[in-house]
Structure formats: C-alpha cells, structure tokens
C-alpha cells in the first residue's frame, strides 16, 4: 500500500449503521457481532482484511506495470485482453464455476494456497438465490 493512514484502512463499501445491518432479515445480529456502532462498521476488523481482499489485484497490477516498463505497452495489453475473455467463461451466477481457463492463464492451476484449503467456495453452506441472482446479472433487478 502506498498511502497509509485511516483513509486507506477504511472499507470500500460503507454500510451505515442502522440502515443495512448484517444479519438475517436485515436486523442487527447482537448475539454475533455485538452492538452496532459507526466506528465498528467503518474500520476493518483485522489489519490483514483489506490487504487480503485486494492482494491478487495489487499483485497483478504490479506485475503488469513492470511488464509494461520492460516490454512495452502491447505485452500487458494482450495479457489483460486474454484475462478478460477467460473471466467471462462462467456458469450461471449461483453455481460455482471451475474457472479453468482463468486459472491456466494466471498460473494458479499448479499452485496451492490458503484459498484452496480454507473456505472452499464449492463447499460453502450459503447458496445464492437463483432467481434473484440471474435477474441481477441480466440487469432486470
């Protein structure tokens, strides 16, 4: 991170306390997350949370900018084009996709990391609501 300070530590989406609390049916979940307060909503709950959320993106940005400096504009441009094309190969929004082409391009098909061991998305207990998610994707919502 190049800018340090409170502004870069804040979460990107700011849920205002009282308007959209987490928890089922929109009510605040006092049992699990305690009483709501604005400070709790704004600051991340763990110093690594923000860093981890955008880790992959930042790494890609750094690599592409280095590539641009070494090999010129076309190299990162072409790679990003392929990345964007592979990213669009998905199954329906509520089903898990294998992302095989994307993995091969990124090189993560022959590495093992914590994202493969912990919190496997194919084994998550929550499922997207099919109708709502398809409507959201088609822009009908």
């Amino acid at each position: 991170m190049d800018t340090r300070g409170l502004s870069s530590q804040m979460k990107d989406s700011i849920p205002v306390a009282g308007f959209s609390p987490q928890g089922s049916y929109g009510l605040q979940d006092s049992l699990r997350s305690g009483f709501t307060s604005v400070k709790n909503e704004l600051l991340p709950s763990h110093p690594l949370e923000l860093s981890e959320k955008s880790y992959q993106q930042n790494k890609d940005k750094m690599n592409l900018s280095t590539l641009r400096n070494i090999q010129g504009l076309h190299a990162p441009l072409k790679l990003q084009m392929e990345h964007r094309a592979a990213r669009q190969i998905q199954r329906l929004p509520f089903l898990p996709s294998s992302n095989l082409a994307l993995d091969t391009l990124r090189g993560s098909d022959d590495t093992v990391g914590f994202e493969d061991i912990l919190n496997d998305p194919t084994q998550s207990e929550m499922m997207g609501e099919p109708h709502l998610m398809v409507e959201y994707k088609l822009g009908l919502l």
């Binding site: 991340p44 690594l48 949370e49 981890e52 499922m127």
Partner: protein, 277 residues
C-alpha cells in the same frame, strides 16, 4: 439452506468475519478474569549445521500449551521434498500447514520444471508467503537441503526475513543451542562430528529451557541420501521404578483348593446387524 444475494463470487482463503466477535468475547472474558484458550506452541529448540557433505538438522520433541506439555513426542522436522527438510518453531499448526503447502507447491513446481527442487526456491516461496501475512502466521523455520549447487541452510522468521548461514538456531532454546555452536563450530566437519555437535546443541536447549524437552531428533541430508533419526537420543527418559509392592506368586502357601464349575445355559439369543458400510 440459507440463501443470499451476492454480486461477486465467494472467494476461498481466510475469512475475517469472526474477528470482531472474538475481540468482544476476549474483552468480556478479561473483565471477568478468565482468558481464552491459547494456541499450541512448540516452545522449541531447533538448529541446523552445514558440514562437509551436507546438512544436519536437529530438533527437540516437546509441544507446549501454555504451561502444560501438550505432546511429549511430536515431530518438528517436516518433509518438504526428497532433498529438503524443514524444522519448525512457533505455533504448531502454522508450521505444519505452511510446510505442507510449500511442499505441495514445490512438488508441482518440480514436476513442471523436471528438475530436483532447489533450497533457494523453497526459501523464496516461504518468505513470500510469510511476508504476505505480515507475521500473523507464527512460523519460525530452519530450512536445509542439498541440491545441485551443494548444501544450503536458511533460517526464516515469522515476518518473512531470511538468513543464509552455516549454522542457525531458532525457538525459545535458541540461545542455549547457539552458545554450543559458537563454541565448537568448525567449517567442513565430518558427519559424526556434526551429528555430535547438533545433538549437544539440542541437549543444551532441552536442559536449559522450559519450553523444550523430551527426545532429540536428527535429520542428516547428503547428496542422494537422507537419514531421519527419530529418536536419535532420548535425553529425558521417564524414571523406572526401582521397587515393587506386588507379592510374587507362591508367597502365601496354599492349604486346600475347591473347584466348583458353574453351568450356564443359553436362554435367549438376539442378533443385531451393524451397518459397517
């Protein structure tokens, strides 16, 4: 099954959802006076030394949970690849999972390049992973192996810094072990001399540090051969009782003996099949 609407696919990896709740619970518990259970650490002495033909790695075998010994004979020398082994100090789960992840990655990498993996590769993978998590993964490692460029020994700290040295120690007993190394290390030792030196260094850690104890494990890595000696030396053996209060058979003389056979007949037989599928 609960459903929700999300606009981005769920990612794997670490989930920080419970951090706030845990912070609240810890605050409440501290107010009352009790404390949350702590992670099992390997309060440890681990060390490694480069000798003429390869590497000798040594470790004690005690795992502590606060003030209690959680495991009297745990194995702290982890396999990374056929020619690379890694000793781990710090949080036991962290060292275990980190070394397993790096071992898998190194195996895939070796299959992809078609060559025996190098120690420098393992070192770089480890340091990049530990730096990414800013020291929250509490794994202090001693990495050693023999590859095409000879024997190499690295020490890796939890925040991601590494040192390449001829002799290294880590863990709570590292000062005791380093004292032995500083006194008796010579470059280009023979194998038996190196094994004796590492054994003495670990023994110094075991006897002078509360967090280390039990046996001494050694791992000797040379070009083409690995000797995993577990246990190499049982420095702390539980004492054997010298006396016994049980009476031997025949102490009391037998005067008479009466044998009465009991006849039992089967009244009812009931078979319940077990589902062993």
């Amino acid at each position: 099954m609960a459903t929700l609407t999300v606009n981005r696919p769920p990612q794997g990896g670490f989930c920080f959802e419970n951090c706030k709740r845990n912070g609240l619970i810890e605050g409440e518990a501290n107010k009352v006076g009790c404390s949350l259970p702590s992670a099992r650490k390997t309060g440890t002495t681990i060390c490694g030394v480069v000798f003429k033909d390869g590497i000798v790695l040594g470790a004690d075998t005690r795992a502590t949970e606060g003030m209690i010994v959680a495991d009297k004979n745990c194995s702290k020398i982890h396999y990374i690849s056929p020619n690379i082994y890694c000793c781990g100090a710090g949080t036991a789960a962290d060292t275990e999972m980190t070394t397993q992840i790096i071992s898998s990655n190194l195996e895939l990498h070796a299959l992809s390049t078609g060559r025996l993996p190098r120690v420098a590769t393992a070192n770089r993978m480890l340091k990049q992973m530990l730096f990414r998590y800013q020291g929250y993964i509490g794994a202090a490692l001693v990495l050693g192996g023999v590859d095409c460029n000879g024997p190499h020994l690295y020490s890796i700290y939890p925040h991601g810094s590494t040192d390449k040295l001829p002799y290294v120690t880590m863990g709570s007993g590292s000062l005791a072990a380093m004292a032995v190394f500083e006194d008796r290390y010579k470059p280009d030792m023979e194998e038996e001399e190196a094994k004796g030196l590492v054994r003495d260094a670990i023994a110094a850690g075991i006897f002078n540090d509360l967090g280390s104890g039990s046996n001494i494990d050694l791992c000797v890595i040379t070009k083409g051969k690995v000797d995993y000696l577990r246990p190499h030396d049982e420095a702390n053996k539980k004492g054997v009782r010298t006396g016994d209060y049980k009476y031997k058979r025949g102490t009391t003389g037998v005067l008479t003996k009466v044998v009465t056979p009991l006849h039992l007949e089967v009244v009812e037989e009931n078979i319940q099949t077990m589902d062993t599928s």
